[in-house]
């Protein structure tokens, strides 16, 4: 099958979802009102609440939610064949992610711009809010550990990308200074930043850097993981304008450039999909497609992380309530497009089925490296960029996304520890440095605990990360559903995804629990149990919330 057909069907399906389904939910279910005074206008303070153009806001939302996860997940999940991953990404984006994201914005906008955590407390109850905090902590913990492992793997397998990946940090530092200290024009600085980054990518393959096999008794992978966490700890302590803000900005630009180049290359090069539609020779030890597919691909189909962005910052800047459709739903479509690009790269970038099978030799293999290798071949055939350079470009793209998520994730985790310090009166934990060290310590423990001394098996927790992320999405869907019940509106658009997610999550956790038990992997077994308990609590909260809501009078707002 030709990849162009896959691309047209996928993008066409998601576009149809935007034009028809999102219009339906916006008009009939959420009933967006152009006259409704949004929190951005009601509390306009020039700081948190600022009415913002829907295009700019879409850019923020899209680039905040699209990171390395929609690349890693689909690139692992194609091990079951391209069709299941493709269908889940397209249908997930249309019926799950779009509904969830625009719904999260709507729920927040209708409640003075509250974040989804506070909303859970207000709408569902205090207990649900506590569960929400636990789930958030687990998501952050896992995302940091997994991304540390992912970047370390990329740095080892692609020595040519070491210079551009670390060089990008220098470029971001320079941009931050140029903008804040020297007040340079942002357009010029952007051009300079992108040119400098691509200059580094161009020279990267000529100056490959590899760590020796052992560094002070540690494997190269373990050494990179420690270096990355040391960097992330420092980065998360720096003021945001110094590094995080310019890095995020460059990543955003890079995301657009990368996506446009990849799709253009598919159109021009017209590669063939060599991966099977359904993989009947799934490597031994790979978990069953149902339910694992639905937690392996979280971002790209539906992800709870989006709810945090939607209610944290997006809802406070929404100019008109009707903009939620474009910002939230189309933002999800953007992420779906990135996940689709990852599927195409991992399925159509190989010469033959044998080549593909040798890469996907075990569950967790392939993954982001398959995206890099496959995407490099597609870019080479389509737009003629040398595979070494195009491979470096995609490695840098994935590593920078993962790196920025790590910086932000560690920062958020530090805040959680600081909050713990304040709540429980532990003064030293309230300070930034000890809190950061605690956060880093937990992540490093997880990265090595899950993968052994070399940290190489850290990707084993990927499905667990997906499960936790889906639980978060479940909680957001629960809030939206309860609101819809109280407003006496049809609830199936959120209830069906919610029930489906909870079922798949619970099933995936039980299957993995059994697997970890058989392998006698007590560390992952304990982690699985923690997530399982959280999942059961979320399910019980759902039942309790609906029972309680049935007894309550109907109101227009909550």
């Amino acid at each position: 099958m030709n990849a162009i057909l896959l691309m047209v069907l996928g993008l066409g399906g998601m576009a149809a979802g935007y034009f028809f389904y999102s219009r339906f939910i916006a008009d009939r279910i959420y009933r967006f009102d152009p006259e409704f005074v949004t929190p951005a206008h009601e509390f306009d303070d020039g700081v948190d609440y600022v009415p913002t153009s829907k295009f700019v806001l879409w850019g923020h939302h899209f680039t905040s939610v699209a990171g390395a996860a929609p690349i890693v997940g689909p690139a692992i999940a194609v091990i079951w064949g391209w069709l299941p991953a493709f269908l889940w990404v397209v249908f997930g984006t249309v019926f799950f992610a779009g509904v969830h994201d625009s719904g999260a914005i709507w729920a927040s906008v209708r409640n003075r711009g509250l974040s989804i955590g506070s909303l859970t407390g207000h709408v569902v109850g205090k207990r649900a809010r506590s569960i929400f905090m636990i789930v958030i902590f687990l998501v952050l913990l896992m995302v940091n550990a997994v991304f540390g492992v992912v970047i370390a793997g990329l740095l080892i397998k692609n020595p040519g990308s070491v210079v551009p990946i670390w060089g990008a940090i220098a470029v971001a530092l320079l941009i931050g200074q140029l903008i804040y200290r020297f007040k340079f024009n942002l357009g010029l600085v952007s051009l300079f930043g992108v040119a400098a980054l691509y200059g580094l990518i161009f020279i990267g393959p000529s100056v490959p850097v590899s760590l020796p096999e052992t560094v002070v008794g540690l494997s190269a992978s373990a050494a990179w993981i420690l270096i990355l966490f040391a960097y992330a700890a420092i980065a998360s302590l720096l003021p945001v304008w110094v590094l995080l803000q310019p890095r995020d900005y460059i990543n955003g630009l890079q995301l657009f450039v990368g996506l446009i180049l990849l799709y253009a290359a598919v159109l021009i090069g017209s590669p063939e999909v060599v991966a099977p539609m359904f993989n009947h020779n799934v490597p031994e030890g790979a978990p069953p497609l149902i339910p694992l597919l639905f937690v392996t691909i979280a971002c790209g189909a539906i992800s709870g992380f989006h709810g945090l962005v939607a209610s944290g910052t997006t809802s406070k800047q929404l100019n008109r309530e009707t903009d939620a459709r474009f910002v939230g739903y189309f933002g999800s479509v953007g992420e779906g497009a990135l996940a689709l690009a990852a599927i195409i790269a991992a399925c159509a970038g190989f010469a033959s089925l044998e080549d593909w099978q040798s890469v996907y030799s075990a569950f967790g293999q392939g993954g982001v490296q398959a995206f890099v290798d496959g995407g490099a071949v597609i870019l080479n055939r389509g737009v003629g960029i040398d595979t070494a350079i195009s491979g470096t470009m995609l490695t840098v793209m994935a590593a920078l996304f993962a790196g920025t998520t790590m910086d932000t994730g560690l920062r958020l985790q530090r805040y959680i520890f600081q909050e713990f310090g304040e709540i429980y009166g532990i003064r030293w934990l309230g300070r930034p440095l000890p809190a950061t060290l605690m956060a880093v310590g937990c992540c490093v423990l997880l990265a090595f605990g899950a993968g052994g001394a070399d940290g190489s098996g850290g990707l084993l927790i990927w499905p667990l990360f997906g499960t936790t992320n889906q639980l978060l999405a479940g909680l957001t869907l629960l809030v939206i559903t309860v609101m819809l019940v109280r407003l006496k509106r049809p609830v199936w658009i959120t209830l069906v995804p919610l029930v489906f997610l909870l079922m798949m999550t619970l099933a995936a956790l039980l299957i993995q629990l059994n697997e970890f038990y058989r392998k006698e992997d007590w560390f992952l077994l304990s982690l699985d149990l923690v997530v399982l308990i959280a999942a059961i609590l979320v399910t019980l909260e759902c039942v309790a919330a609906f029972r309680k809501t049935e007894k309550q009078p109907v109101g227009d707002e909550l």
């Binding site: 020039g46 700081v47 948190d48 600022v50 913002t52 153009s53 295009f55 700019v56 806001l57 850019g59 923020h60 905040s64 903008i179 024009n185 942002l186 357009g187 952007s190 003021p239 945001v240 304008w241 995080l244 803000q245 995020d248 900005y249 955003g252 910052t313 800047q317």
Partner: protein
């Protein structure tokens, strides 16, 4: 018509560039606006502490200079004590409200 078209085009282009610049600016600063505003406020609070150190009982070797700044900070002082949950000024010598 030709010459006028030539003059209109660059002006339009300028407008387009300015518009792109504004959108980029909003895109750059948007997500971090509140974090930066909070950091700025923290710095201002520290400065306020320096200016009013003497009134709070902290010996200040440069009080001669900070005293001069006090009237200029009056409005911010009022905002500050309200933000801190004190409806009235906590300092006897600072009767801002």
């Amino acid at each position: 018509m030709e010459p006028s078209n030539k003059t209109v085009l660059p002006r339009n282009l300028k407008l387009v560039f300015r518009r792109i610049g504004e959108q980029l600016e909003a895109y750059y600063s948007g997500p971090y606006r509140s974090v930066l505003a909070r950091a700025e406020r923290d710095e201002e609070d520290l400065f306020m502490l320096l200016v009013y150190a003497e009134s709070l009982g902290i010996p200040n070797p440069v009080s001669l200079y900070t005293l001069e700044l006090q009237p200029l900070m009056l409005e911010r002082f009022h905002e500050w004590h309200q933000r801190m949950g004190m409806e009235r000024s906590p300092l006897d010598e600072m009767r801002c409200c």
